[in-house]
């Protein structure tokens, strides 16, 4: 199992669950790469992945910016695959299952929090995306923690 993918899985697991993910979920994330198109093709894509997993603080802002501007980029696909993997486990399911009831106040609170959090992340993420997403990293030059698979 590639150390690079294990590292990515752990980072994404912490990002989504807010805690260290179980090893089985990290292994499953690595396995998913054998079946799904999750390797970056463009230089900008590759640079974003390098930045997000080498400088973990960038992951949240870059994910928010990509969700808005590049919803089909590789970083976003990797985030969503880990979301699916976390959700399809008893440990993660409770984080994703719908809330029992939605009142007007709860809805307004959720919208307000989501709006504020998104604005903060975009304030950092959009400039980052503009700089990193434009890079033309040659395919062979990407070095990620733990080396290639």
């Amino acid at each position: 199992m590639s150390a690079r993918l294990q590292h990515e899985g752990r980072v994404l697991g912490r990002y989504i669950m807010g805690a260290e993910p179980p090893g089985a979920l990290v292994d499953r994330y690595a396995q998913a790469h054998a079946h799904l198109p999750l390797e970056p093709l463009a230089g900008g894509d590759r640079a974003m992945i390098e930045a997000a997993f080498n400088h973990v603080w960038m992951l949240g802002p870059l994910d928010a910016a990509c969700a808005l501007r590049r919803p089909h980029c590789t970083l976003r696909r990797k985030v969503m695959v880990m979301c699916a993997i976390v959700e399809a486990s008893p440990e993660g399911a409770r984080l994703f299952m719908p809330k029992g009831r939605a009142g007007v106040m709860a809805l307004l609170r959720t919208f307000a929090r989501a709006g504020w959090a998104t604005a903060c992340r975009l304030a950092v993420g959009l400039p980052l995306l503009a700089v990193i997403g434009r890079r033309r990293t040659p395919a062979h030059a990407a070095v990620l923690p733990g080396g290639a698979a």
Partner: protein, 554 residues
């Protein structure tokens, strides 16, 4: 010699075979040839508990929710068949490899599964009425006894409510399945604004479903239902409460004179004195097999049947008409359900059905004088994974997750079907080039189709807003996303090339009958599966009668 070969095992095939074997002068030997692809992997893994319990307890859930090859995660964006979960994904497995077709133009799918496309259908039922069958060589009166027979066989549940005016009644209708909190809230709002909403042309009621709210016993010792309200309809058929053609196939296998031959794909036929010889190719490879029969009933699905007929008659390149219900879905915020509790026990199928009658636009010559009614199905979004919603949100994952969890109880999906009729730009043909043989589809909507659809959708969304359902967007996943296809070898009053007569007899091919959707000349905005089954039941009886009278048709 075999008396009759039935090709396929979908909704039409099993009821044609059933009628053949249960007619007064029944033939002695009926063989069903079928590719018969099945899910052997995931179904046994799904525990018999409710969706929410399973999510909290089953450590192996990733296998049937995501798939062993992560096929449940799939590509980004909307795609036809996205609702097929890994336990249902076998429905389209191998189809493109064995029956190559360029269906991307309309986003259509085909199936080689046991049970065909109906192995994963939404189970909505509606009879066609006089208007729906305008221009057909048969009438609702011809189909009525067959609707009755099929409805008793498959089990239908529903209520006698405002839908009865538009949809009539069903034989042996069981009480409806319990509604979930979202649908109950919508229906309550409809009740309180009924006069105004009816004035806008909307009738709303509980969806009529081919599902058993109580136990249903068949003539061969089998029992189905009652539905457990476990919210697993997209994944499992634990009590077989929801009708699938496989249940009828199992009952058929207990009838003497019936033989089921899975693992073969019918390629072609040739008519000969005294019958038909049928060429079948094993899916596992090996030489083609030739079988001789007195009659052949084609139920291979619209695309499969078209390929077989064009290939057999040597008419590659000839264009056949095609009709399919244009389909749009609209995720809506259901504001009526704010503050309500969601009980765990529910089903995942369509909760409510609406019939909306658009108004005519007398000053607009492009718009029909008497526009056809439009049908919509309302679903809740509960037993599909939340990340699929998150993917569609322009938000970072943690924020999208929190928002999706809050919005899910408020989310209702309105699926809108439109009627369709043959037109010059809607065609399929069998093309042959160096890459081999391929079915090509062309489906160009006319300007008047587009205008009718746009106006109707605007009208229905206005009516839904009055109901407290606010559409977030409209999604048109492709004309073929309805998975309702028909009309390639239509029944006509006047005989013509590549058509059938009112009895499903294929013109110019003695002994060959068409009993699937290919024979329906047009499609109203309703689900077609109940009519497919009723028409196949009718044609099965006709084949039995023709055989008993000493042969097949001239």
């Amino acid at each position: 010699m075999i008396d009759a070969i039935v090709v396929g095992s979908g909704a039409s095939a099993v009821h044609a075979a059933w009628a053949l074997l249960h007619s007064v002068r029944r033939p002695t030997r009926v063989v069903m040839l079928d590719a018969g692809v099945r899910d052997e992997t995931y179904a046994p893994l799904i525990p018999g508990v409710t969706w929410s319990r399973l999510r909290q307890t089953d450590a192996g859930q990733h296998r049937y929710l995501l798939g062993d090859r992560f096929e449940g995660i799939g590509p980004s964006g909307t795609r036809v068949g996205a609702q097929l979960t890994p336990p249902r994904a076998h429905i389209t497995h191998l189809a493109d490899a064995h029956n190559p077709a360029n269906l991307d133009a309309i986003g259509a799918i085909q199936s080689l599964a046991q049970g065909g496309l109906a192995a994963g259908w939404g189970a909505g039922v509606a009879r066609f009425d006089e208007r729906d069958m305008a221009g057909w060589p048969i009438t609702p009166v011809d189909l009525a006894p067959h609707y009755d027979a099929v409805e008793r066989r498959i089990g239908v549940c529903g209520d006698r409510d405002d839908l009865s005016e538009a949809l009539g009644d069903h034989a042996g209708m069981m009480p409806p399945l319990a509604l979930d909190a979202g649908a109950r809230a919508i229906l309550r709002r409809y009740g309180s604004r009924r006069t105004a909403l009816r004035g806008l042309g909307l009738r709303l009621g509980i969806s009529r479903l081919a599902a058993c709210s109580g136990a249903l016993h068949d003539d061969h010792g089998g029992q189905r239902g009652p539905h457990r309200l476990d919210d697993l309809d997209f994944y499992a058929d634990a009590t077989r409460a929801v009708y699938r053609p496989q249940w009828t196939l199992e009952a058929l296998q207990r009838v003497s004179g019936f033989a089921y031959r899975p693992g073969v794909l019918v390629r072609s036929f040739a008519c000969e004195p005294g019958g038909v010889h049928v060429v079948a190719r094993p899916l596992s490879g090996g030489p083609d097999e030739v079988l001789h029969t007195r009659a052949m009933v084609l139920c291979a699905g619209v695309f499969g049947t078209a390929s077989i007929v064009l290939r057999s008659l040597g008419r590659e390149g000839d264009a056949l008409p095609l009709v399919c219900n244009p389909y749009t879905y609209a995720p809506c915020l259901n504001l009526c359900v704010l503050g309500e509790d969601w009980p765990d026990r529910r089903h995942s199928l369509s909760q409510l059905t609406g019939v909306w009658q658009p108004r005519a636009h007398p000053l607009d010559p492009a718009y029909p004088d008497d526009p056809p009614p439009l049908h919509l199905s309302i679903y809740s979004y509960r037993s599909l994974l939340t990340y699929k919603l998150m993917k569609e949100m322009p938000l970072g994952a943690p924020i999208a997750r929190r928002l999706a969890r809050t919005l899910m109880p408020l989310l209702a999906i309105a699926g809108i079907h439109h009627a369709d009729a043959p037109a010059r730009g809607k065609r399929i043909h069998l093309a042959r080039d160096e890459g081999g043989e391929r079915l090509d589809v062309r489906y160009d909507q006319t300007d008047s189709d587009r205008l009718r659809i746009e106006r109707a959708e605007q009208g229905v969304l206005r009516a839904l807003r009055r109901l407290g359902l606010v559409a977030l967007k409209r999604v048109r996943p492709g004309h073929g996303a309805s998975i309702h296809y028909a009309g390639t070898l239509p029944m006509t009053r006047q005989p013509g090339p590549r058509t059938c007569d009112a009895c499903g007899r294929l013109q110019g091919a003695r002994g060959v009958y068409v009993a699937d959707g290919s024979a329906l000349p047009s499609l109203p905005a309703k689900g077609l599966t109940l009519t497919l089954m009723a028409n196949a039941d009718r044609i099965g009886g006709i084949v039995a009668q023709d055989l008993a009278e000493g042969g097949s048709h001239a």
